[in-house]
């Protein structure tokens, strides 16, 4: 009986998969981000994974494969930090789930409990080649919650999400300051509160370890359960800090608690590149076209280029927008980063890396996505010209071998 079941599954796979998932993508230029670009390249996608990448004269396209052609082929784009799926396009109460303001620190808030896979902005960014997003609770509270990593597909969270609990989000500086008994009113208070909370998590972790094997589990606390993963280095703490002093505070906290820090926003980071480099901290820099006001008034559109040239792992992001446009598109952000960053030494593939390979590495899914290489997910973006030119169109987006967008956007 069991054998029969297995046979049926294999049979079903044989019937369904060839039509659905066997795909060859030819590009006049294929940017694999895993070695030099390939002129007249071919990417073979089999059962949702990349099975072969190489020049057309060396890679034979097997019979029965559907063939897509494009001027330029890149890895599916990776948005290293977004709020899409939680912050909806209409910007009215019922579609804004990115920030809970009743609590100053809420690490227990899971992004999976709020992710709306049918959000139209997901379909929108998919049409520009974005296939993977690191999304979740927005900056704006001291600890606003968690993030997840999803593919831009599916109609349910379960179909979309590949990492349900990715990072914990913290915000330093003005945007998480409020007056009141519970909320911090100054930077120093803010940091004192955060330190106290992390110390509680350390104590809880120590208690848990000392109880190991003794059976007595004690009362569960969702917030500390999450922060224990932060202080034991399992889950990165994504700290949004734009002002110079807040960036340095983030480094100081990392030094004290030894967590894995991912620096986010980082508008004034260009002032402390050696410090960031020494600390080995990756940076998910603000959108290139983010509005230069408030704590980001001193942002530079060349920061991503400067970070890359300093040898710091760097990614770009769509970020959070409170108003129009409700999401940015990382393709456009990288385009401007390249246009203005060329003087700093940034080149085409480095700019592309900010929204593919390097973004995937920083969010921890570099083994699955971000480059076109054998064994990785068959996530690709196809363009009818230089993807960064404003007048170029995305003509197809492929996720795990499936064409999820085809047209001209």
């Amino acid at each position: 009986m069991i054998r029969l079941d297995r046979a049926l599954v294999v049979l079903a796979a044989l019937i369904v998969l060839p039509a659905q998932a066997q795909l060859a993508v030819r590009g006049r230029m294929v940017h694999t981000l895993d070695g030099p670009p390939i002129q007249n390249g071919v990417v073979l996608c089999r059962d949702g994974k990349i099975s072969r990448v190489g020049p057309a004269d060396r890679v034979r396209i097997p019979a029965g494969y559907r063939v897509l052609e494009a001027e330029v082929v890149t890895p599916g784009l990776v948005d290293a930090h977004s709020v899409v799926g939680l912050a909806g396009w209409l910007n009215i109460g019922h579609d804004q789930d990115q920030l809970e303001t009743s609590q100053v620190m809420a690490p227990e808030l899971r992004a999976i409990d709020a992710y709306n896979a049918r959000e139209p902005l997901i379909e929108w960014i998919r049409g520009f080649g974005v296939t993977t997003i690191h999304t979740g609770h927005a900056p704006g509270e001291l600890i606003s919650g968690q993030t997840l990593i999803a593919k831009t597909r599916g109609t349910t969270m379960e179909q979309a999400v590949i990492v349900p609990e990715a990072m914990v989000v913290a915000t330093l500086g003005d945007s998480s300051l409020r007056s009141g008994k519970e909320a911090p009113g100054t930077r120093a208070k803010q940091v004192a509160m955060l330190r106290a909370k992390l110390i509680k998590a350390q104590e809880a972790l120590a208690k848990k370890r000392s109880r190991r094997g003794k059976g007595d589990k004690g009362g569960r606390k969702l917030d500390l359960e999450v922060l224990m993963h932060v202080v034991d280095g399992k889950r990165p703490l994504l700290i949004t800090a734009n002002r110079l002093q807040d960036i340095m505070t983030a480094l100081r906290l990392r030094e004290e608690f030894g967590f894995r820090l991912v620096l986010d926003g980082a508008a004034e980071v260009y002032e402390v590149l050696p410090e960031i480099r020494r600390a080995g901290v990756p940076v998910i820099v603000h959108p290139t076209m983010a509005r230069a006001h408030g704590e980001r008034e001193n942002l530079s559109m060349t920061t991503a280029a400067k970070l890359v040239e300093a040898g710091i792992p760097t990614a770009l992001q769509a970020g959070y927008e409170s108003y129009v446009p409700k999401t940015r598109v990382v393709l456009f952000e990288a385009a401007v980063a390249l246009a203005l960053g060329r003087d700093e030494g940034l080149d085409f593939e480095e700019a592309l890396g900010l929204i593919t390979r390097d973004a995937a590495e920083i969010i921890g899914v570099g083994d699955r996505v971000g480059t076109l290489e054998r064994g990785k997910d068959a996530d690709l973006a196809l363009y009818d010209g230089d993807p960064f030119e404003t007048t170029t169109h995305c003509i197809a987006t492929v996720i795990e071998g499936e064409i999820v967008f085809e047209g001209q956007r």
Binding site: A292, E297, N298, K326, A339, L340
Partner: protein, 436 residues
């Protein structure tokens, strides 16, 4: 008599020569895009006393002796850009006291030393319509400016031949001006309030006419109605924020009833009512946003508005709505239009000449033509490529932005100090550091 004439001619020639040495600037070698005509490879632009004295291909344009010649080989010159809807320099209008405030003037609010002015120069924007916000049905009088390096608002404000400060009137409908009392709560109420005020303006105008200059018979001065009379007389254009298809039609209906000239701004759902816009003869000032929505009434915004309106024969311009879009990236908006089918010519006009027409300034700015103001930008490539940078911005023949200077590069890219309001010392110094 002959001797006298001869002396006059000599004097005139002498004057011209001295003048030429002082204020004739010639720019050679660039591809000149006049916008009013086809691009001129290896073009020559002659600027005299802040105006364009000649423009044409090398060889066809006489270069005056002693002129200050700048070689721009390999570069591109196009007209200074015109932003028909900008909030640069904090031009705030009405307060929270009520929905109809046509009496307030952006003139009395703008801060010409704001960092945003420097950034607009860095983006190649030379002329702008500085607008109050959209939280009122009538938000106030807008101000047409040139982004000169100015000390006071008078240095930037544009004036008509009669000395009048130029500007339009900002209006808005849809959800932005709808809020708690005394603001309207519905669309019908919004329209009724506007109609009532325009009727009052008509009556006020009639009273003024009947008084025939007799101070005894003149009605008491009303600053708001005075502005609306200018609107009724066609001397002040309405710049109308509007998104939804039905709101767009409401604007056109009011425009027809009261005969005012209107430019439709944002016009998110223009694609639904292209024929109606065309029939009304209204121009459209569009915004290019990287994703739809952000607010309910902008849900259906489409980049395709631009090519669809172009095909219908509607005059279209882009605007930054700075800070919504950054003035430094204005060129990108036209390229986004081209991405979905806008013609190259319309794309170039949408940044320059079309905007000039919407502000009634097309006799002065918007194209590189003899007699127009010498407002132009020098680019390092094609205006519609993302890789192209603005190298220089010139207004009235004066260099106001020069990317080769570290201070100006900071405004172009951002960086430490780029967020602060312009420091006072910039008031009197051009980018070359010369005291003016």
């Amino acid at each position: 008599m002959r001797v006298f004439l001869f002396a006059l001619v000599v004097a005139a020639v002498g004057l011209t020569v001295t003048f030429a040495q002082r204020s004739v600037q010639v720019f050679t070698g660039a591809t000149v895009i006049p916008v009013s005509g086809p691009a001129i490879p290896n073009g020559v632009l002659v600027v005299e006393n802040g105006r364009i004295a000649a423009v044409g291909p090398a060889g066809s344009v006489r270069v005056p002796r002693g002129a200050d010649v700048t070689d721009l080989s390999g570069l591109v010159v196009m007209p200074g850009m015109i932003c028909t809807h900008s909030h640069v320099a904090q031009p705030w209008g009405g307060d929270s006291s009520g929905p109809l405030q046509p009496e307030v003037r952006a003139l009395d609010a703008v801060n010409v030393r704001a960092a945003s002015v420097q950034k607009a120069q860095a983006g190649g924007i030379t002329t702008a319509n500085l607008m109050p916000g959209s939280g009122h049905l009538m938000g106030g009088q807008t101000l047409y400016v040139k982004f000169r390096d100015g000390k006071t608002v008078d240095d930037l404000a544009l004036r008509g031949a009669d000395g009048r400060v130029l500007g339009g009137l900002k209006m808005a409908n849809g959800t932005n001006p709808q809020k708690a009392k005394p603001y309207p709560g519905t669309r019908a109420k919004s329209a009724a309030l506007v109609r009532q005020r325009f009727i009052e303006a008509q009556e006020y105008r009639d009273k003024l006419a009947n008084a025939a200059g007799d101070p005894e018979k003149k009605p008491a001065r009303d600053l708001g109605l005075e502005a609306l009379v200018e609107v009724l007389d066609g001397r002040r254009v309405i710049h109308h924020h509007t998104h939804r298809h039905d709101d767009i039609l409401t604007v056109l209906r009011l425009s027809e009833e009261f005969g005012f000239r209107v430019v439709l701004h944002h016009v998110s759902e223009a694609w639904k009512v292209v024929d109606e816009i065309k029939a009304a003869g209204a121009a459209c000032s569009l915004i290019a946003i990287d994703s739809p929505g952000g607010k309910l009434e902008a849900r259906d915004i489409k980049w395709e508005n631009a090519p669809l309106l172009e095909k219908a024969g509607v005059d279209i311009a882009f605007h930054t709505d700075d800070p919504i879009n950054d003035s430094r990236l204005f060129l990108r908006s036209a390229a986004q239009g081209m991405r979905v089918g806008l013609s190259r010519q319309a794309a170039l006009e949408s940044l320059t000449l079309a905007g000039a027409r919407m502000l009634d300034l097309d006799d002065r700015v918007g194209s590189l033509e003899v007699g127009k103001d010498a407002d132009f930008v020098v680019l390092d490539g094609d205006p519609l490529s993302i890789y192209t940078k603005v190298l220089q911005t010139w207004i009235d023949g004066e260099l106001v932005f020069d990317r080769s200077l570290p201070e100006d590069k900071k405004w172009a890219e951002g960086g430490w100090g780029a967020g602060s309001d312009n420091h006072a010392h910039h008031c009197c110094l051009g980018p070359t550091g010369r005291l003016r």
